[in-house]
């Protein structure tokens, strides 16, 4: 329903390979730095967390807001980005 950003479309268009975590939609420099500090330096690590939460976007948003200072919009964008990627490639 909501329009996706260019970043979202870029990410979902191909396998993520070794893309950094900042390649995820909703994750800018600040959040990217925060995630990297906690060990989530690559997009696939965050993907791993998303999969652990059974690809539940709500739980993932909850988690992301918990470990970083993400707001609702950023968390939603990131969750949706990962979900779409999974739908396409997983």
């Amino acid at each position: 329903m909501s329009t996706t950003s260019q970043k979202h479309r870029n990410f979902v268009s191909e396998p993520m390979a070794d893309k950094p975590v900042t390649a995820l939609a909703g994750i800018g420099d600040r959040l990217g730095h925060s995630l990297t500090e906690q060990g989530y330096d690559k997009a696939y690590v965050v993907l791993g967390q998303f999969l652990l939460l059974r690809k539940d976007t709500e739980l993932f948003c909850y988690w992301l807001k918990d470990v970083t200072a993400a707001n609702s919009k950023q968390a939603d964008d990131c969750a949706q980005c990962l979900k779409d990627w999974c739908d396409a490639f997983l």
């Binding site: 967390q49 652990l52 939460l53 539940d56 739980l59 909850y62 988690w63 918990d66």
Partner: protein
């Protein structure tokens, strides 16, 4: 309440299921998340409990309300109270638009013995429970019966009997007429 942090992953998983929270494996990264979720759910306190208790309380609430209202109604029992001896009246009441009145009055035959106590009334509550649905609109208009009661010169039951007699008479008249005439009469 035991600290959630000390529980094993299995226990946390069980608790999450109890609260109906969908979850994945409880591992290092997800444990603190689920613990927080459980704390929230416990704070709400609703999810874990079955909803059957709620319905039970709702029913009680209806009855309680009903019982509570009757003290105010008893004041208005008046002439209607002295006559509603039986269900027959309640059954008759279905013919007229005064259904609420008849059930309203039928709910208080026990009330005549108000001096004794609410006991006979309470006993009858389950059987008159079906009339609760009629009695509900009464909540919003407790004043109407009061006002109308004072203006009734003819008892209610007498009006019903009269109406029934009239209806029977009309029916006899129609049935004795010929078919064509009857139709014309209707039009």
């Amino acid at each position: 309440m035991a600290s959630l942090d000390n529980k094993s992953p299995q226990e946390i998983s069980d608790l999450l299921d109890e609260y109906g929270i969908k979850h994945g494996p409880v591992v290092g990264t997800t444990k603190s998340l689920y613990v927080k979720k459980l704390k929230e759910a416990m704070a709400k306190g609703k999810k874990a409990k079955p909803s059957s208790d709620k319905t039970y309380y709702r029913e009680e609430e209806e009855e309680v309300t009903y019982v509570y209202r009757t003290p105010s109604k008893s004041e208005t029992s008046g002439d209607g109270g002295s006559y509603m001896r039986s269900r027959r009246e309640w059954a008759e009441g279905e013919y007229g638009h005064d259904t609420s009145y008849s059930s309203y009055s039928s709910s208080r035959p026990e009330y005549k013995g108000r001096d004794l106590v609410d006991e006979p009334y309470m006993y009858d509550t389950p059987s008159t429970y079906s009339s609760n649905s009629y009695a509900k609109p009464m909540k919003s208009e407790p004043e109407k019966p009061k006002a109308q009661k004072s203006s009734r010169l003819i008892p209610l039951w007498l009006q019903f009997v009269f109406f029934l007699l009239l209806a029977a008479f009309l029916y006899l008249v129609f049935s004795n007429m010929e078919a064509n005439e009857a139709i014309k009469g209707i039009v």
